[in-house]
């Protein structure tokens, strides 16, 4: 039994671009609530913004789930915020390329997945062309 109880899971729609703004705000609030420092908050909110936009624009719309997660397995138990993006869109055809590409010409081409990955501690992506995409990112609270 962990000491962090009452961690509500919430779901937000990501259907139109203004949902992205709302998602940023909610992730910021949850990040603050879980005790992430300012830089960590900024990182996860930025990643959320990237991934939320992807869901709306490329995924045909979907959802964001926000959870507080705990990890009791390591020497020092840690707490983190997990954001999960789900859509039932066209999926990502070449996942390898998407994960190594990045912003080649620096003007926002590509999905920006490698960048988002660098911002968080754990990053998981599952995508099936024609069925959809599910991306999970976790940022652990930094305890010295």
């Amino acid at each position: 039994m962990t000491g962090f109880i009452g961690a509500e899971s919430e779901t937000l729609p990501l259907m139109i671009t203004s949902d992205v703004v709302h998602a940023r705000r909610r992730v910021r609030e949850r990040a603050m609530a879980v005790g992430l420092d300012l830089v960590s908050q900024t990182k996860i909110v930025t990643a959320a913004s990237e991934l939320a936009r992807n869901t709306v624009i490329y995924g045909g719309g979907g959802q964001l789930h926000i959870d507080v997660v705990t990890d009791d397995t390591s020497v020092r138990p840690r707490v983190g915020l997990r954001i999960t993006f789900v859509d039932e869109g066209p999926g990502i055809a070449d996942l390898d390329r998407a994960m190594t590409g990045g912003w080649s010409s620096g003007t926002g081409l590509g999905l920006g997945l490698p960048g988002s990955q660098r911002l968080v501690h754990e990053f998981d992506i599952a995508s099936t062309p024609g069925q959809g995409t599910r991306i999970t990112a976790v940022l652990w609270r930094r305890d010295p």
Partner: protein, 133 residues
């Protein structure tokens, strides 16, 4: 606050960005700034992003494109007020905002605009201001 709030200070336009930028307001921003640049006969532009608590790739693109629009219209542009947490995150994201001058404060921004304008007159191709060597 969507879109942008523009104020003229001497020969410089200060455009303050709000943090609820979506696709629509991004285009509106470029239109608004472009119109003001033309109307003010090419005054310099400072893009004030001090209200932005995050800058993602979309906003980066908007800033970059806006800067290009301003330059095409014959004026100089600098971005001011980037927060430390934003700078750290952008470095991690790998978006160095190449080619756009940045400054810490409005004062520093105005000085930077003067510097870039002078450098262009001297014929420097791409003045990367304030580079120490």
């Amino acid at each position: 606050m969507s879109r942008v709030h523009i104020v003229q200070v001497g020969s410089v336009l200060v455009a303050t960005l709000g943090d609820e930028l979506d696709d629509e307001s991004a285009l509106g921003l470029q239109t608004d700034i472009g119109e003001r640049v033309v109307r003010s006969r090419g005054a310099g532009v400072l893009l004030d992003i001090s209200a932005l608590d995050i800058v993602d790739s979309f906003i980066c693109r908007v800033l970059g494109d806006t800067a290009k629009v301003v330059r095409v219209l014959g004026a100089e542009v600098a971005i001011v007020g980037m927060r430390p947490a934003v700078a750290i995150t952008l470095v991690e994201l790998g978006l160095p905002l190449d080619g756009v001058t940045t400054a810490l404060t409005l004062d520093a921004g105005m000085a930077a605009l003067t510097r870039i304008a002078a450098a262009r007159k001297r014929g420097d191709a791409s003045p990367r201001t304030g580079t120490l060597r």
